[in-house]
């Protein structure tokens, strides 16, 4: 069956540009997560949705980062006025259950963002 998909897979942005990264979770999955992964590091939590509700956004590094999931399915991570330190792979994951860590998360392939 279809897994989590993300688009675009690669994005090059000039410093100061806005970008929008899309995540299509597995159909029916209630929970959706965004992570940021710098080169050589593990994924770092950004934000978490339960259906359309954004329950935790404490990992968003600045107010330039914004995430939404208006209909409880597709999610978009938007970064305004991109900076070079935003260069990373952005991973999306979804899951069927409501509780954070007692279940399996299904990850997408990620979007590699390069800010020049």
């Amino acid at each position: 069956g279809a897994g989590v998909s993300q688009s675009p897979r690669y994005k090059v942005a000039k410093r100061g540009q806005d970008v929008a990264l899309r995540c299509d979770p597995i159909s029916g999955h209630v929970s959706l997560f965004w992570y940021q992964q710098a080169l050589g590091q593990g994924p770092e939590f950004l934000t978490y949705f339960q259906n359309e509700a954004q329950l935790d956004k404490s990992g968003l590094p600045s107010d330039r980062f914004f995430a939404e999931r208006p209909e409880g399915s597709v999610s978009t991570l938007k970064i305004q006025r991109t900076q070079q330190e935003d260069s990373a792979v952005y991973l999306c994951a979804s899951s069927t259950r409501l509780r954070l860590n007692s279940y399996e998360q299904y990850f997408g392939p990620g979007t590699r963002l390069t800010v020049t």
Partner: protein, 113 residues
């Protein structure tokens, strides 16, 4: 926030059993222990999860001592395709609003022919 400590890297020959230990001294009562595998240019993939004692599935075993302050992922008879980064993840299963998913830097396993 329960954080983890793992070896940065490990090497193993094909066909050997590999054990990767993760320390999580501050694990909380409700925390589960989850291991993920990540290949280059891919998202992490779930391997196994446990709460206490031993859990086994078709790809790995997870050993958790009684105090739960550490856990060991065991990969039987590794092959070249097991070369990847392995993450130990500890988090609270009840708090839907807490930021407590911490991957750390993981253990880079290299399987040698």
């Amino acid at each position: 926030l329960a954080k983890t400590t793992q070896p940065i890297s490990m090497d193993s020959y094909e066909g050997q059993e590999v054990n990767i230990t993760c320390s999580h001294n501050n694990i909380a009562t409700n925390d589960y222990i989850t291991w993920y595998q990540q290949f280059p240019s891919q998202g992490p993939r779930f391997i196994i999860q446990g709460y206490k004692t031993k859990v086994t599935n078709e790809v790995a075993s997870l050993f958790i001592p009684a105090d739960r302050k550490s856990s060991t992922l065991s990969l039987p008879r590794v092959s070249l395709s097991d070369t990847a980064v392995y993450y130990c993840l500890v988090g609270d299963s009840d708090q839907t609003g807490a930021n407590n998913l911490f991957f750390g830097t993981g253990t880079r396993l290299t399987v040698i022919p």
